[in-house]
Amino acid sequence: MSTADTAIEKMSDGERFSAKAEIAGAVVSTISSFDEAVAYAVDLCQKRDLNRYEIDDSGVNLDGVKKTIAAPLLHEDEYAHLVETCADRDISCIRDGMRSQLAGVDIGLTYADIGLAETGTIVLNCPDEELRLATMVCEYHVCILPKSKISADAYAAESQLTAFMLDSPTYTAFITGPSRTADIERVLSIGVHGPLELHILILED
C-alpha cells in the first residue's frame, strides 16, 4: 500500500469520499447552501460550449438553441430560485419533458440519496423517469450530496438500498465519475454515452 493510500484510509468518510471521487475523475466541491449549488451550475453552464446531437433527419442546428439546465425533482422554492438565477443569463430551465431533450441538455442538476466513501460513488434512486434521463443525456452532471448521507461503503448502506428496491418498481443508479471507455486500444477516454463531467457538490448539513 502506498503512503497516499494509507493516508486515505485514515480520513473521515467525507474526506475519503472526496478523495476517491476525484480519483474516479469527478470534480468535488463543498458548499454550504443550495443557492451555492445553483451558482455553481449556472457558472459551469456558461463556461462550457453549447453542443447538441443529431436524433433525427433534421440534423443539428444550434441557431436559436438556448443552453439548458434540467433539474427534475427540485423542491418548488429551489426550482424557483434556479429559474430566477437563469432568467437574466439566457439559460432555460426545465424540470420535465426530458424525452423531448434527447439531443442533449447542458446541465443536469440533481440530489444524491447516498454517497459511498469507499469508492467515491453517488447513489440516485430514480423511479422517476425525468430524473433518470436528466442524469443520462446531460453533458455535465452536477449532483448535490448532503454530507450526512455519506456512508463508509455500500455494505453500510445495504439496508437502505434493499429498502429502495423492495419499493418497486425502481431504478437505482450507482454513479462513479464521468462516463468512460477503454475500448479502443485500452486507452481511457472520458464521455462516451453519458455525461462528459461529473461535479459533486457536498452540502454541509
Binding site: L161, T181, I184
Partner: protein, 718 residues
C-alpha cells in the same frame, strides 16, 4: 470463434495469431498493465477472504437454486416483470424474437452481453427482420466488422485506432482522425440517434437479486442506462448462474468483479433495475420488461459434483488476462464464444464437445488462471477433466494410449529409458544434448536442443553414493521424478551432498516411478491413478519425516492431485493424508527446514536470476525460499521481469503446441537476458530442459541450473 476441425487445423490458426504483431504487442502490454492495476485495486482489501466469501455465497445459492429462482421470479413478477425460462439458445432467441414481434418493435438497441453471444441472439433476431445496434463502443466496432468479441470485457482489444478510424470513416462518409478521444466522440454523436429511435432495449445482467427481483448491470460507458430507459420494451437475457440471494451478496460480487476484471475499484455505473419502471414511451407510462433466464447446459453443470464450481464464475475475464497462451493467440483462438480458461470449460457445456475438443488441449497447466480467479475455481483441473471425458468417449489417440500403457508398468518404463540411452548413441553429442532429433519427434520441435539420457540413472548409482549418517537429525525420502532420475541425476547428487552435510538420513524407494502428471496432461486419468497408488505405496512403509522432490511439478502433483485421484477409495485416506503432508519442494526444505545460514557457504557474488516454475510459485505457493537461498549462498540475485510467467514447457504441451511453446520460451529468455545474470536458476527439471535447450539453440552463454546445484556447489567444505 473457434471452429477448427482438428488439432492440426487449430495449430495453424494459432500460428496465424502468433504472426499478428499488433495483437501480440497489445496483449503483452495489457498483461503487464493489468497486473499492476489489479494489485492497486486490491491494495486495501483481503483478496483471498473476499474471493472465498463470494465462492461460498455462490455455492450456497446453488444448493437452493430452485428456491432462489422461485423467489426471484415472484419478486420480479410482483414488480411487473414477465419472467421466462429458456431451455437452450434457440428457445431463448425464440422468446426474445416473439416479444419483439408482439410489441411491434423493429429497432433494437443492445448492450454487451456474453450470454447473448452464447445464444447467437443477434443473428437470430436479424433473420427475423429485426434491426439490432450494439451500443457498447467495443461491441459496435466489432459489429461493424462482423466479428465476435476477442475478450469478455474488452471485445475489440485485437483492433487498433486505425482499424476503428477506417470503420468510422465508412459510417460518417468523411475521413475521421485516428485520435482516440475524437473517435470516441464520433461514436457519441452517431449513437445518440440510435438510442432515441430504439423501440426495444436488450441487455444482459451481471447479477440477479432474489430478495428484490432486481437485475444489475456493471458498465462504464452509460449505454446500458440508456438502453434500459429510453425504449418502451426492455429484455434482459441472463444465465441462471447470475442469481444471488441478497443485495449485499450482489455488492460483494460487484466488489470482486470490477477489481478483478479491469483493476477498477468500481465501474462508472452500476445500474439496478427493479420492475417495470415509469416510461414515457410505454403504454400507461410503464415499460414492458422481460427477464429471460437461460439454462443451456447450466443445470447439467450444477448436478456435476466437480463442475458445479463453474457457477461461481462472475465473467470478469481475468483468467484470459493472465493466461500465457491467450497472450500469444488472443481470444479468437483461445475460446469459442467464451474466452480464456473458463471459456474452454463453458464451450464444452454450452456449445458441445466438437468445439471444445481442440481448445481443451491448449492449456499449458501453469495455473495462472486458478491463481487469479474471482470465484476460486480450479480451472486447470476442470480443463483436464473435460479432455479426459472427451477421450474416454471418443477414444484415446495412440500416443496417449502408449504413454498410459508404458507408465503404468514401472519396470517397462525404466527399461525403455535405459535402452533409450543406447538408442540415442548415433545422435547424441558429447555435450549432453542431442545432435539431431530422433525420428519420433516432428521437425517443429526443433526450437530447443533436447538433452540426452544420462549414462547412469540416479536409481542405478544410489547404492554407491548413499551416505551413511552416523547421527541423523532427520530422515527423509527422496522422490526423484523421471527427469532427474534419468536425465539430470547430477541434480539429485547435489541435493544428496548438501543433505549429508546437514546430517539428513535419506532413503530412495526403488518402487517409485513417474509422478503421473504427464498422464493427467494427456487425459489418461485411470493410468494416472494407478501410478499415484504405486508411488504412494512405495513411500508409505518408509519411516520418513519429509518426502523431498527437486521437481516442482512432481511436488505439486503429489501434494494436490493425489488426494483427488485416490479419493474413490476411503480406506486409502490415512495413507494419502500422511504421504501428502510430508511432500515438500527442495528450496522450502533447505531454506525452512534445514535453515541454512550464510556461514554454511562460500559466496562468490555471481550474478544470478530466477525462473519461478508455475508449480512452485502457484502450485505450492512458494515464492521467497529459492530467492533467499541464492542470497544466503552468496550469489547476487537480480530480479527479472515476469519471473512467475510460464517458460512454455508444460510437459507434453511443448510437444503438442511447439510453436506456442517456442514463443513463450523466447519471451522467457529475453526476460532472463534483461537481468544481465550469468546464471539462471530454477526448481524444476522440465523448466531446465526447456530453458537450457533454448539457450543452447540460440547460442546464449547463460548457464541454466537447478537451484540445488548452485547452492550445493557453494557449500563450505567440511
Amino acid at each position: 470463434m473457434h471452429e477448427a476441425k482438428n488439432l492440426k487445423e487449430y495449430r495453424k490458426q494459432c500460428q496465424e495469431s502468433l504472426d499478428n504483431e499488433y495483437l501480440r504487442s497489445t496483449l503483452d502490454k495489457f498483461a503487464i498493465a493489468y497486473r499492476a492495476s489489479r494489485n492497486n485495486a486490491f491494495a486495501d482489501i483481503d483478496i483471498d477472504e473476499l474471493i472465498a466469501d463470494v465462492a461460498q455465497m455462490k455455492d450456497d445459492t446453488l444448493k437452493q437454486l430452485d428456491h432462489y429462482l422461485d423467489q426471484f421470479t415472484r419478486q420480479a413478477g410482483a414488480a411487473g416483470v414477465v419472467v421466462h425460462m429458456a431451455e437452450d439458445s434457440d428457445h431463448a432467441n425464440r422468446i426474445i424474437a416473439d416479444i419483439a414481434h408482439q410489441a411491434g418493435c423493429r429497432k433494437i438497441i443492445k448492450t454487451k452481453s456474453m450470454t447473448a453471444e452464447e445464444t447467437h441472439l443477434v443473428p437470430a433476431l436479424e433473420r427475423e427482420g429485426l434491426e439490432i445496434t450494439e451500443t457498447d463502443l467495443g461491441e459496435w466496432i466489432i459489429q461493424l466488422r462482423n466479428e465476435p468479441p476477442s475478450h469478455m470485457v474488452m471485445p475489440a482489444i485485437h483492433l487498433s485506432r486505425y482499424h476503428v478510424r477506417d470503420l468510422f470513416s465508412d459510417i460518417t462518409g468523411r475521413q475521421e482522425d485516428e485520435e482516440i478521444e475524437k473517435l470516441v466522440k464520433v461514436a457519441r454523436n452517431q449513437m445518440r440517434r440510435r438510442f432515441a429511435e430504439g423501440e426495444m432495449g436488450i441487455t444482459g445482467a451481471n447479477f440477479a437479486v432474489a430478495e428484490t427481483g432486481t437485475i444489475g448491470l456493471v458498465t462504464n460507458e452509460g449505454n446500458a442506462r440508456l438502453c434500459t430507459t429510453l425504449p418502451r420494451v426492455h429484455v434482459a437475457l441472463l444465465g441462471i448462474d447470475k442469481l444471488v440471494p441478497t443485495v449485499g451478496d450482489a455488492l460483494s460480487q460487484v466488489k470482486v468483479l470490477t477489481r478483478n476484471a479491469t483493476g477498477q475499484a468500481i465501474t462508472s455505473y452500476v445500474t439496478w433495475v427493479t420492475g417495470a419502471n415509469e416510461c414515457g414511451a410505454g403504454d400507461d407510462e410503464r415499460k414492458e420488461v422481460h427477464f429471460v433466464l437461460l439454462d443451456n447446459g447450466r443445470r447439467e453443470m450444477v448436478e456435476d459434483p466437480l463442475f458445479s464450481q463453474v457457477f461461481r464464475c462472475v465473467r470478469c475475464g481475468a483468467c484470459a488476462n493472465v493466461c500465457p497462451v491467450y497472450r500469444l493467440v488472443g481470444g479468437h483462438k483461445m475460446g469459442h464464444i467464451y474466452i480464456g480458461a473458463i471459456g474452454l470449460i463453458l464451450t464444452y457445456f454450452f456449445h458441445g464437445e466438437e468445439y471444445a475438443k481442440n481448445l481443451v488441449q491448449n492449456c499449458i497447466n501453469c495455473e495462472a488462471c486458478k491463481d487469479i480467479c474471482a470465484g476460486g475455481i480450479d480451472l486447470p483441473r476442470l480443463i483436464k477433466e473435460i479432455h479426459t471425458r472427451i477421450q474416454d468417449k471418443d477414444g484415446h489417440p495412440l500416443p496417449s494410449l502408449l504413454l498410459a500403457k508404458v507408465l503404468r508398468n514401472r519396470k517397462l518404463f525404466h527399461s525403455l529409458l535405459r535402452s533409450a540411452k543406447w538408442a540415442q548413441k548415433p545422435v547424441a553429442g558429447n555435450d549432453g544434448f542431442m545432435r539431431h532429433l530422433p525420428m519420433v519427434f516432428f521437425k517443429e520441435h526443433d526450437f530447443k536442443a533436447l538433452p540426452t539420457i544420462a549414462d547412469k540413472a540416479f536409481r542405478d548409482m544410489w547404492e554407491e553414493i548413499k551416505p551413511n549418517i552416523a547421527e541423523p537429525k532427520l530422515k527423509v525420502g527422496l522422490f526423484s521424478g523421471c527427469v532427474q532420475d534419468f536425465v539430470y541425476p547430477e541434480q539429485m547428487v547435489a541435493a544428496v551432498e548438501l543433505f549429508k552435510d546437514h546430517d539428513v538420513d535419506m532413503v530412495f524407494p526403488m518402487a517409485q516411478s513417474c509422478c503421473g502428471l504427464p498422464l493427467q496432461m494427456m487425459g489418461e486419468r485411470k493410468a494416472s491413478r494407478d501410478v499415484a497408488l504405486q508411488n504412494m505405496n512405495a513411500f508409505v512403509k518408509e519411516d520418513v519425516e519429509y518426502i523431498i522432490t527437486l521437481c516442482a511439478s512432481c511436488a505439486s502433483h503429489l501434494k494436490h492431485s493425489y488426494p483427488v485421484l485416490l479419493e474413490d477409495d476411503p480406506k486409502l485416506r490415512p495413507d494419502v493424508e500422511s504421504f501428502c503432508s510430508k511432500v515438500i519442494d527442495l528450496s522450502s526444505f533447505v531454506h525452512d527446514v534445514l535453515n541454512v545460514q550464510e556461514d554454511d557457504f562460500v559466496g562468490d557474488g555471481k550474478k544470478v536470476t530466477f525462473h519461478a516454475p508455475c508449480h512452485l510459485c502457484r502450485g505450492l505457493g512458494v515464492h521467497d525460499a529459492p530467492r533467499n537461498l541464492m542470497r544466503i549462498a552468496g550469489m547476487d540475485y537480480r530480479e527479472g521481469a515476469e519471473e512467475e510467467v510460464c517458460c512454455g514447457f508444460g510437459g507434453t504441451y511443448s510437444a503438442k503446441f511447439p510453436e506456442l511453446s517456442e514463443q513463450l520460451l523466447n519471451n522467457k529468455i529475453a526476460d532472463i537476458e534483461g537481468t544481465g545474470a550469468e546464471i539462471v536458476l530454477t526448481d524444476c527439471p522440465g523448466c531446465i530442459m526447456q530453458i537450457r535447450g533454448g539457450m543452447k539453440k540460440l547460442g546464449k552463454d547463460i548457464e541454466v541450473k537447478h537451484t540445488i546445484e548452485a547452492v550445493s556447489e557453494r557449500r563450505k567444505k567440511k
